[in-house]
């Protein structure tokens, strides 16, 4: 056992850093550090650059066009990119549907879909949740009725992140209304340009638009777009959710968050000195810092199990729970560091490239909106209550 990096891993980290510095647009990077929202171009240009390098699908095995990295390389890659201010990779293609396709899809499907995911030519979104099926995902009602070599799909998906940017959506649909909840579900890939697909924005509490309703009205989907056998969609769904929960811990960006919180404390005036001179405040940052370390080490332990061939087990739910709480706490403390200057609402400074100047310090405009927005992290990807149910049932046997 050894925490220190081997020389070849140091060289690897240097390569990743050099790549990020050469390829990440300064405007995108600035948005990361100022807490502004990215637009589609910020994400796609960066992802295409990663794709050209063969690094977008960085968790994939070589066989499917991934770099075949070991656990340490993945860890370094994620950390260096976060340090350099890269936007997070939108997970729906490379982290979610890609692995589902190469694990459960036919050769033909692999050939057809994997290249577009690896290159970021094609953007994906996730159509799982429905108005009546959130935590109880298996109660989903979107119906797919077989007609010859097509399915006719009717229903509504909701909370669909980035559906307004998506070219394709992967959906869980009910193909057999008679079967028991989980058994009648199939996994379908739907081209968003198909007639009958309508996307409607949902405005969040901070004024942001990332999520959408997606209405499916007599949408004709070729049977060839089904991954796995009919009625076996739940297996794909579960496989994907376990992957989703691992990435959702967001350790590298939380490390960046703690660093920037310390910078803000150093910049914020307080009683003739700065907030960094207030031990009551800095102790709260230290507490967070230690929580991040515990989380990171737990994630590394989980990854090293996976490296030995194990699948991510139900214990990754614990990582999702703590990861989301930590992200929320960072935004909370950041807002408290800003104090009364968190009150001015300047949407122009969050969403657009404007010449508007901040009312308070530069770091103030996103502080409160991020705190509000990050309440989502304990809700999406399976709420923390559901994660705790999973741990208590699957890990503790309760």
């Amino acid at each position: 056992m050894d925490l220190a990096l081997k020389p070849e891993h140091k060289a690897f980290a240097d390569d990743v850093r050099a790549f990020a510095r050469a390829n990440l647009s300064p405007a995108t990077k600035a948005k990361t550090f100022s807490g502004k929202h990215y637009d589609k171009d910020d994400h796609i240009q960066w992802q295409k650059a990663l794709g050209r390098q063969g690094w977008l699908a960085y968790t994939w095995p070589k066989k499917y066009g991934g770099p075949g990295w070991d656990v340490t390389q993945r860890f370094l890659f994620e950390n260096v990119l976060a340090e350099e201010g890269a936007p997070r990779i939108i997970p729906f293609g490379p982290k979610m549907v890609g692995p589902v396709i190469y694990t459960f899809g036919s050769d033909e499907q692999k050939e057809r879909f994997l290249p577009g995911i690896r290159s970021s030519e094609v953007s994906w979104c996730q159509g799982y949740s429905e108005p009546g099926a959130g935590s109880d995902l298996a109660s989903l009602r979107t119906k797919a009725v077989r007609e010859g070599d097509h399915y006719i799909v009717n229903g509504q998906k909701t909370w669909t992140s980035f559906a307004h940017w998506g070219d394709w959506i992967f959906c869980l649909v009910r193909t057999s209304p008679e079967a028991k909840a989980q058994e009648g579900i199939s996994f379908l890939l739907i081209d968003m340009k198909t007639p009958g697909v309508t996307v409607r924005p949902i405005v969040m509490l901070d004024g942001a638009h990332h999520v959408n309703d997606v209405f499916l009205d007599n949408v004709k989907v070729p049977v060839a777009n089904r991954i796995g056998k009919e009625g076996e969609g739940w297996t794909c769904a579960k496989f994907l959710l376990a992957n989703e929960r691992l990435g959702i811990a967001e350790v590298p960006s939380s490390k960046r968050g703690v660093r920037s919180l310390r910078d803000i404390a150093r910049a914020e005036p307080a009683n003739g000195a700065t907030l960094a001179d207030d031990p009551a405040f800095t102790a709260q940052i230290a507490d967070l810092d230690l929580q991040v370390q515990a989380l990171e080490m737990s994630e590394l332990r989980a990854l090293s199990t996976m490296a030995l061939g194990g699948a991510p087990g139900p214990e990754v739910s614990s990582l999702k729970i703590r990861g989301s709480e930590i992200q929320q706490r960072i935004t909370e403390l950041t807002m408290e560091a800003v104090g009364e200057y968190a009150a001015p609402y300047q949407p122009g400074m969050l969403f657009q490239d404007t010449n508007e100047t901040p009312v308070g310090p530069d770091h103030a405009p996103p502080a409160a909106p991020r705190y509000f927005n990050f309440r989502k992290t304990s809700i999406y990807g399976g709420s923390n209550e559901i994660q705790k149910n999973i741990v208590s049932k699957m890990v503790l046997g309760l």
Binding site: S129, G132, G134, S135, D136, S139, T158, W159, I202, V203, M204, L205, G207, V211, E268, P269, A270, N271, G272, L275, A280, F281, M335, E336, G339, E340, Y341, A342, A343, P344, Y345, Q346, V359, G360, P361, A368, P369, Y371, F372, N373, R375, K376, S378, I379, Y380, S383, N384, E385, K388
Partner: protein, 380 residues
């Protein structure tokens, strides 16, 4: 001891409840928030007519002889409706300081029109570096003939866009952060030399950054004694804190009620989600938190006019700590128990959550008041 409301106080509570029901249905509130000035003249006129703008002032000052309990009663209802009219800056802070420190002439000129709904105030104390220290003031007032000249910056001044007069806390002597050497001025909001940058706040109120460039005022603009404003300001802010606590209590009641209703009706896994024990217990904790908040607010309202300034200050800080803690717990829990719906703009929960969050940041957050309370308690 008697903790029950008098008949008049019950009537006041009923009237405030009715006002909120009639004027502040959630979709109405959304419309009011979207208007340019962010509140309605007709609502303000109605508050004047109902006597609310004068209830906490003595009859001598043209008011109706009530006090902090009356303020608590209406603020609590305002919290339930997320009312947007500028009651706190105008009546509690502005009116409060004028009644406390004003000359006979100032009171006569300012209080009756305020009580009639014809004049509004804003209180400019915060500066970029102040954080929660009321004495960290550097905007300078220097003698100029018989009067004064004001130069400097004030930030996050609530209701400045609508105010007729700005009550400005300025440094007339002493060094940075010294309590001695601060003076209050009542300044015409349209005075030459004031520049305003207006903006909405996270919780749909209106505020401004104000720059004072050699703003000339007469000697009669001084409110209270020169160099000696700190006590008046601290007391006014403590009164405002207690009023805010009452508002927060109303917000918590409303957000808890909405959440309770939601978990009784939203079904997952074939049952209302309120059947899951983890949500039941969280809901119970929300109600307990709101109870504690109500208790500390009532206690502070009863003590805030105490003769002993230490009692007053401890009461305000103690209540603010509780409101910070309870508000955060109820707000975060309500959002969580609503699932995805909780983080949308569509439902009222997120709007209560935002207001509760901003209340914690106003006039010192939980941590600040814990320290202040602790220092006062250790000194005793």
């Amino acid at each position: 001891m008697d903790l029950s409301l008098s008949d008049e106080q019950k009537q006041l509570q009923d009237a405030a409840e009715r006002f909120v029901r009639d004027k502040y249905a959630f979709e109405n509130r959304r419309k009011i928030a979207a208007t340019e000035k962010g509140w309605l003249t007709e609502n303000w006129a109605q508050m004047a007519e109902l006597g609310w703008l004068g209830m906490a002032f003595s009859e001598e000052d043209g008011g109706y002889g009530g006090g902090p309990i009356e303020t608590m009663i209406v603020m609590e209802q305002f919290g339930k409706g997320l009312v947007l009219e500028p009651f706190l800056p105008t009546v509690v802070l502005g009116g409060g300081m004028i009644a406390k420190a004003g000359s006979k002439a100032q009171k006569e000129a300012l209080l009756p029109p305020m009580i009639e709904g014809k004049k509004q105030f804003a209180f400019a104390w915060l500066e970029r570096q102040s954080r929660y220290n009321l004495a960290d003031v550097s905007l300078k007032a220097t003698k100029e003939g018989n009067g004064w000249s004001l130069s400097g910056h004030k930030g996050v001044v609530y209701n400045a866009p609508s105010a007729d007069h700005i009550i400005v806390l300025a440094r007339t002597s002493g060094s940075a952060r010294e309590e001695k050497g601060l003076t209050l001025f009542v300044v015409d909001a349209k005075a030459k030399g004031i520049t305003r940058r207006d903006y909405p706040t996270q919780d749909a109120l209106r505020a401004s950054e104000l720059t004072f460039d050699k703003v000339s005022v007469g000697a009669d603009a001084v409110l209270g004694k020169v160099d000696d404003a700190f006590g008046v300001v601290e007391d006014a802010v403590d009164h405002a804190i207690v009023a805010l606590c009452a508002e927060a209590t109303g917000c918590m009641d409303a957000i808890n009620a909405a959440t309770l209703e939601y978990i009784k009706t939203r079904k997952q896994f074939g049952v209302p989600i309120g059947k899951f024990q983890v949500l039941q217990h969280r809901m119970v904790d929300c109600f307990t938190n709101a109870q504690e908040a109500r208790s500390m607010t009532l206690m502070a309202s009863l003590k805030i006019d105490d003769k002993d300034s230490v009692v007053r200050r401890k009461a305000a800080s103690g209540a603010k700590v509780q409101i910070g803690k309870s508000g955060k717990f109820c707000g975060q829990s309500a959002v969580q128990m609503h699932g995805g719906m909780g983080v949308t703009d569509e439902l009222s929960v997120s709007h209560y959550f935002k207001r509760l969050t901003m209340i914690d940041l106003m006039f010192g957050n939980q941590q600040h008041h814990l320290t202040r309370y602790s220092n006062l308690a250790m000194a005793a």
